[in-house]
């Protein structure tokens, strides 16, 4: 669709790119932080116009359809609110000297590069292009995780880099195998990497080859999703980088990798001879939920704890998509959106809390509802939501998931519920110490912008109370698409 001669798809990609170029050369942190917000807002508007407007026909590189538009809008929205949070967060980091203006310029440019990479991965209609985009998004987050240059940050960035690279290498091998499977059917060259063509011809692919390809792709992109045996990078990367980056990692990058897995799942579903992808995903999902739930009890670092909670929730989402069927897919989609909004809101709150207290250790933080009522109660609200209590959106998606899978696989559902309850207990236990009880740590007032956090929490609450008809219809449509 054209607005004044500018293609909306191109705008979603070019705005962050232009932003990155401009922010890389401009000095001064106040103006660049505002520019960062402005560019993110423009990207969001472009994505919004994609949503309401007419969609362009799929080309050999770019594609907008019902599935990825959900991801694009969510991605650009959280990208925008996080940039607003980042503006107030970064000011404090400069004052305390943890970041210098030179690094800040780099940080803002990388933020836009990361948004570009994620948007490109989402709109790519070409498995090669998607791979390149995911790699770009990963590399830009690696350097941002290491930006504080403390011992811990370097260790975290190195671990993230090595594990992420291995994951992405396996994904490339899988991509090559998919091309090999498609070549005899679709024909040589670029066509054999185009999603829409692949999907149309998937039934004729050699099943054995696509099976092996999927295993590599699931392991490769699954590393990025943070699935159980491959999750080791995730807590470190979340805990040691700047908090806005923790928010986008949890809220967005994990979703982008999940999107890639879902696309390939669709490809296998279209091939009658291929293996059922459900059991693989269900197993990895359940393993992630259980492992993360147990690990939650031993956390001492507040950001690390919420990172494990992200692993748990990605596990739930992968479980939901692995079970398949309209209702479980619907629950999975809803859970993904709700988790992104809630978890980034929690990280917004945690970022300010860690700044006020000057520490991320939970034993040195206490009585937040008394000392900083707005921050404290927002944290309470967010944690209660993420733990899955009614009436918030996450309760609804978890309830839908459990009720829809209980009849089909009662045993698995019992395991899932066990994991959820374990995680619930751990979160509330910690919340009690953090938010209530005797005040601990510094009492200085906080200079925060509460708007992004409150906006996210309001959306989560609203979704739990009432989902508008058009959104439900839209999600149902996508859920049916996912099979």
């Amino acid at each position: 669709m054209n607005i004044g001669g500018i293609d909306a798809v191109a705008a979603v990609l070019l705005v962050p790119l232009a932003g990155a170029a401009l922010l890389a050369v401009l000095p001064g942190y106040r103006s660049t932080a505002r520019l960062n917000v402005l560019f993110s807002l423009l990207t969001l508007l472009a994505a919004g116009s994609l949503l309401v407007g007419e969609r362009p026909a799929p080309g050999s590189y770019l594609l907008v359809d019902d599935l990825n538009i959900v991801f694009i809008v969510l991605n650009t929205f959280v990208g925008f609110t996080t940039s607003a949070f980042s503006a107030s967060y970064i000011g404090h980091e400069l004052e305390t000297g943890r970041l210098t203006p030179r690094y800040l310029r780099f940080y803002h440019a990388m933020y836009q590069v990361m948004m570009f990479g994620m948007n490109l991965a989402l709109v790519a209609n070409n498995i090669g292009l998607m791979w390149v985009a995911v790699e770009l998004a990963t590399l830009s987050t690696v350097v941002m995780v290491g930006i504080y240059r403390t011992h811990e940050a370097l260790e975290a960035a190195w671990k993230y880099f090595i594990l992420g690279s291995v994951g992405i290498a396996l994904a490339l091998f899988g991509t090559i195998l998919v091309y090999m499977a498609a070549r005899p059917v679709v024909g040589e060259g670029l066509d054999a990497m185009v999603w829409t063509l692949l999907l149309a011809h998937a039934a004729d692919f050699d099943p054995a080859l696509v099976n092996v390809a999927f295993v590599f792709l699931l392991l490769g992109y699954g590393t990025k999703v943070g699935l159980a045996p491959l999750h080791a990078w995730l807590p470190d990367a979340h805990a040691e980088g700047p908090t806005p980056i923790s928010a986008v990692l949890s809220g967005l990058l994990l979703n982008v990798a999940l999107y890639a897995v879902l696309r390939f799942k669709l490809l296998l579903a279209a091939n009658p001879g291929a293996l059922a992808t459900g059991p693989l995903m269900v197993t990895m999902g359940l393993a992630s939920v259980l492992l993360a739930a147990l690990m939650l009890y031993r956390r001492r670092d507040i950001k690390r704890m919420f990172a494990y909670s992200s692993i748990e929730h990605m596990g739930i989402i992968v479980f939901a998509f692995g079970m398949g069927g309209p209702l479980a897919n619907f629950a999975g989609l809803l859970h993904m959106v709700m988790h992104s909004l809630t978890k980034s809101a929690i990280f917004f709150a945690v970022g300010h809390i860690a700044q006020v207290k000057g520490t991320q250790r939970m034993s040195e933080i206490g009585g937040l509802t008394v000392t900083h009522p707005l921050l404290g109660w927002s944290l309470v609200f967010g944690v209660v939501a993420i733990a899955g209590l009614p009436p918030m959106g996450i309760f609804m998606s978890e309830f839908l998931l459990i009720s829809s899978t209980f009849t089909r696989a009662p045993l698995l559902t019992v395991v899932l519920v066990g994991g959820l309850l374990l995680a619930f207990g751990a979160l509330l236990l910690r919340l009690n110490e953090l938010a209530f009880g005797e005040p601990k740590g510094a009492l200085t007032p906080v200079h925060a912008s509460y708007v992004p956090m409150l906006a996210h929490l309001a959306l989560v609450l609203a979704a739990g109370l009432f989902l508008p008809g058009p959104i439900v219809a839209w999600f149902q449509n996508v859920a049916a698409l996912l099979g």
Binding site: W158, I176, A192
Partner: protein, 220 residues
């Protein structure tokens, strides 16, 4: 003629696997870098041979990139880094050489069994290439896990990428976009790594990852 094409491709790809094994047991960093440079040269030859066999001139570009960056630029730079850090003589494997070699053989057997079984319908050239490529990828992983040293891990990672380039070259008609992107990703990866190594040195005066382990998040 066809048999000769096949045999030479086979020999070059097999040579890559062999060199991966040689890398596995190198216990000095500078020797490891030299073997890696040789690995990259054989990769370049293998890709160039594929370009000739498939009559796909764009693959020559990939071969030249492999030769220039991976066989010359990167080893030279890494040599300079390790010399400046004064670690060019030392290296220590986490696991002994014997078990590592056995594990490597197991991985090669695994990849041959998996790939040859699923690609029965592909043409033999691509088929063998893919099986060897997977072996190189898995051996690269093994090199990475058996090294404690940051430079050693990076070399392992790059040999893994070599396996991917071999696989991409073997897939007939795979678009150039991907090959260039592979080369670019290696370049980017190298830049990132370069920055990291520099920062690690700045902070610790060592690139031994065991030193990093002491600073892990929750053991404060």
């Amino acid at each position: 003629m066809d048999a000769l094409l096949f045999d030479i491709a086979h020999m070059l790809a097999g040579g890559l696997v062999l060199l991966s094994f040689v890398m596995l047991y190198q216990d000095r960093l500078s020797a490891l870098l030299n073997v890696f440079a040789l690995h990259a040269i054989v990769l370049a030859a293998s890709v160039a041979w594929q370009a000739y066999a498939q009559d796909a001139p764009h693959l020559y570009i990939t071969a030249v990139i492999a030769l220039a960056f991976k066989a010359v630029v990167i080893p030279t730079a890494l040599h300079r880094i390790i010399r400046r850090l004064g670690i060019h003589r030392e290296i220590e494997n986490v696991v002994g050489i014997g078990p590592t070699m056995l594990a490597g053989m197991g991985l090669v057997a695994l990849s041959l069994v998996v790939m040859l079984r699923v690609t029965t319908e592909a043409d033999p050239l691509a088929r063998e290439d893919l099986a060897f490529a997977l072996s190189v990828v898995l051996l690269g992983l093994l090199i990475m896990v058996t090294r404690r040293n940051a430079v050693g891990q990076v070399v392992g990672f790059m040999s893994l990428e070599n396996g991917l380039v071999l696989a991409a070259a073997g897939a007939r008609g795979m678009p150039l976009v991907v090959e260039i992107s592979v080369a670019f990703s290696i370049l980017i990866a190298f830049i990132v790594i370069g920055i990291f190594l520099f920062r690690i040195r700045e902070r610790f005066d060592t690139v031994d990852l065991q030193a990093l382990d002491r600073f892990r998040g929750e053991r404060r």
